[in-house]
């Protein structure tokens, strides 16, 4: 009695599942099977259309524009990689890429850790779970334009936390990252973590609640402390949820814009500038469509360089 194929059953390669031993199929049945084979493709038509026209189309168009000298409107002259050269000796662009890397790592790690902790603690059958969930999720509902402004006030040494704590009796308490060239990006991380960890908590909680209760009982009998169960047993099982969360957060990181504009306008100076803001400034404010498109293409290529190996490993992993 050999073990049946694993639950996730990688299907035979090449799409359609052939059911073995189908008795002599007539021409009609053959034709019907071809038709049924096309149905999945028909269902994916909207997706194919979106990908080809919207995403692929826009990317190619941006690539073409980034090799022209377009200002407000696209122009069809050709300047080769001039825009890219200008991009890479633009100090503000290099700083924005560094900011993005630093912001991305800190933001994703902090949000996943806090989101997971919140989900775990809420999963301890606490009273008032409904209220707590809404408390952690409400920031995601509000537009960052106003909440960003509030965070700017809170973190501003003049009017915010620092002044309040000083008045409460710690005269030399300083918390002025937002006005410090090197530390301002951390303030953007704090506000973004405040906004996004509620969503991560929701997704993680969904994952936790899907775990079979008997697993918990078995672990208790094995004498494994609760925190260790979460760390060594539950967390590894959350693979798919973690993957989804990572992709969601990563797209958020690459496109971060509202948080920076609402809180620091990219300041002090251009210390907290991010690629999306650089692109937006040049796209609209400075009517430089070509440079903005070049920025977008470079941003996309950096993402491709980061994501491609992961996607390749995962797809190879699944078919092994």
């Amino acid at each position: 009695m050999n073990p049946p194929r694993s639950a996730s059953g990688a299907s035979p390669p090449g799409g359609q599942r052939q059911w073995p031993g189908k008795a002599g199929s007539t021409a009609f049945a053959g034709w019907r099977r071809i038709l049924r084979g096309l149905v999945p493709w028909g269902a994916l038509l909207p997706m194919a259309l979106t990908v080809l026209v919207a995403y692929l189309g826009a990317t190619l168009w941006s690539l073409r524009v980034s090799m022209s000298s377009a200002r407000t409107f696209p122009s069809d002259d050709f300047v080769g990689l001039a825009q890219y050269e200008r991009l890479f000796d633009n100090e503000r662009w290099q700083l924005s890429l560094q900011n993005l890397a630093l912001y991305g790592v800190l933001f994703i790690v902090a949000t996943v850790v806090i989101g997971f902790l919140l989900a775990v603690f809420i999963d301890q059958k606490v009273k008032g779970e409904g209220a707590l969930r809404t408390v952690f999720l409400y920031p995601y509902a509000m537009s960052f334009v106003a909440t960003g402004l509030v965070w700017q006030w809170v973190l501003n040494p003049g009017s915010g936390l620092q002044q309040a704590v000083r008045q409460m009796g710690w005269p030399d308490f300083t918390f002025d990252w937002i006005i410090d060239q090197d530390k301002v990006i951390y303030t953007v991380v704090i506000a973004s973590v405040w906004q996004a960890s509620g969503l991560v908590m929701a997704l993680m909680l969904a994952g936790l609640r899907g775990i079979d209760d008997e697993l918990w009982k078995a672990a208790r009998i094995d004498g494994i402390p609760t925190w260790r169960v979460y760390l060594s047993i539950v967390l590894p099982m959350m693979g798919p949820t973690l993957a989804t969360v990572f992709v969601l957060l990563f797209t958020g990181v690459v496109k971060v814009f509202d948080a920076v504009v609402a809180m620091t306008q990219g300041g002090p100076g251009t210390a907290s500038d991010v690629p999306a803001k650089f692109i937006m400034d040049h796209l609209f404010g400075r009517a430089n469509l070509a440079l903005a498109s070049a920025g977008a293409i470079v941003l996309l290529l950096t993402v491709l360089a980061l994501v491609a190996p992961i996607l390749y490993a995962r797809s190879r992993g699944r078919s092994a």
Partner: protein
């Protein structure tokens, strides 16, 4: 025969305009105008209402499309044009922002209205240089703001023992030192790129003078930029940074003005729109706060204003609407009403200044002298160059970089 027809035409239009103004506004069946603009806050809304009332009085229908923030509004206008559904009129700054749009031939010109209303006679040269492209008038000016007023809180000056209003840069620095001595914040400043640039423009105008201003911004002459005079301007600019409080980075300009209103700070470099915050707080020029346009008899009046452009459209009556709108907003009565609410000064000097506030009257007086009028950076530079300069200046303001390096960077950016 030719003459007869021409005279007939002119009298007919005059009659129409006169009739429109004199009589009770006809039923709003007149030309519909959809206008995109970014005057969205309380005070600004009151100002744009004067325009819409005037246009309705002239028989037109005003459809309002307000979009916050200049960059956003301009992008909506351009996208609407590309999408084939352009507005009747759209706001731009008195700058080169819409030159590309003109190049693409997407704008109707207002030569007829300009000729009839005699725009050349009353418009400042700086404004004309922007709205006239290859001889055609492509924009109707709406307002003239001066971005580099120097505001000061009388209460703070009294507390710091400053008797008279500073008359020169050195007197200003002396006042700032006294303010610092009195424990007040000498210079209230919002640490955002565009506000840093306002301080620079004020220093360039008051310390550099007209010739250097034009050489650097208009001619973008590398020798002048690398020269001693410009180095001194940059050093004075950087010296001002010493008088700013630590919590300045990221602060909005209204919060900086609030420091003046509450007497916590002495001086602020800001445009004449700051009057809106003062009036909102119930303060009056001359009594609670003072306004200085510039130091010295030949101080410059930097012009940064707003215009309306008129996209080409296929709708028949929209050209009529655009012409009516262009003439209505440049009419003296509308200009005075608008300036009063907006805090700017009228685009024409031949207006009755009595109804304007103290500071506006001071501005209008300066504007009467043609060679004290000068455009701001956007008038002489493309948006891209203007932005690049802004990046360098805000970096210099926030970080200590040797001034020679800054001069080289500016020369490089503006070549």
């Amino acid at each position: 025969m030719m003459w007869a027809r021409k005279i007939g035409l002119i009298t007919a239009t005059l009659a129409l305009a006169g009739a429109a103004l004199a009589q009770k506004p006809p039923a709003p069946s007149g030309p519909k105008a959809e206008v995109i603009h970014w005057w969205t806050s309380g005070g600004e809304s009151a100002a744009v209402k004067t325009l819409s009332d005037a246009y309705r009085a002239a028989g037109g229908q005003w459809q309002d499309m307000a979009v916050a923030l200049g960059e956003q509004a301009r992008s909506v206008t351009i996208n609407r044009m590309v999408g084939g559904n352009p507005p009747t009129a759209a706001q731009f700054n008195t700058s080169r922002q819409f030159f590309d749009v003109v190049e693409q031939g997407l704008l109707n010109n207002m030569d007829e209205v300009a000729a009839r209303d005699g725009w050349d006679k009353f418009l400042p040269e700086a404004v004309l240089s922007v709205i006239k492209v290859k001889g055609h008038y492509y924009a109707a000016p709406v307002s003239i703001h001066m971005p580099t007023w120097i505001w000061y809180s009388k209460a703070a000056f009294a507390k710091a023992g400053i008797a008279a209003e500073p008359k020169s840069m050195d007197e200003l620095f002396a006042a700032l030192d006294k303010l610092k001595g009195a424990g007040l914040v000498p210079l209230a400043h919002g640490g955002q790129a565009w506000q840093d640039n306002i301080v620079f423009a004020a220093v360039l105008a008051n310390v550099g003078g007209r010739d250097l201003y034009l050489k650097v911004l208009r001619d973008r002459d590398a020798k002048a930029i690398q020269g001693e005079a410009f180095k001194n301007v940059l050093l004075t600019f950087k010296r001002l940074q010493g008088y700013v409080d630590k919590a300045s980075p990221g602060r909005n300009w209204n919060d900086a003005t609030a420091m003046l209103i509450t007497g916590k700070a002495g001086v602020q470099f800001m445009g004449d729109w700051a009057k809106g915050e003062f009036t909102l707080a119930g303060q009056q020029p001359g009594r609670d706060f003072g306004c200085i346009a510039g130091f010295g008899p030949s101080s410059l009046y930097i012009i940064q204003g707003d215009v309306f452009v008129f996209p080409k459209t296929s709708h028949p009556d929209s050209l009529k609407a655009q012409k009516l709108l262009a003439s209505v907003i440049t009419a003296p009565a509308t200009q005075v009403a608008f300036s009063n609410k907006k805090g700017s000064i009228p685009i024409r000097t031949d207006v009755d200044a009595s109804k304007l506030d103290l500071c506006a009257q001071q501005g209008l007086a300066i504007m009467k002298d043609k060679n004290r009028q000068i455009g701001n950076g956007e008038v002489y530079m493309t948006p891209d160059q203007n932005g690049a300069l802004a990046d360098i200046l805000t970096a210099y303001w926030n970080r200590n970089i040797p001034v020679e390096k800054i001069q080289k960077q500016i020369a490089e950016a503006l070549k």
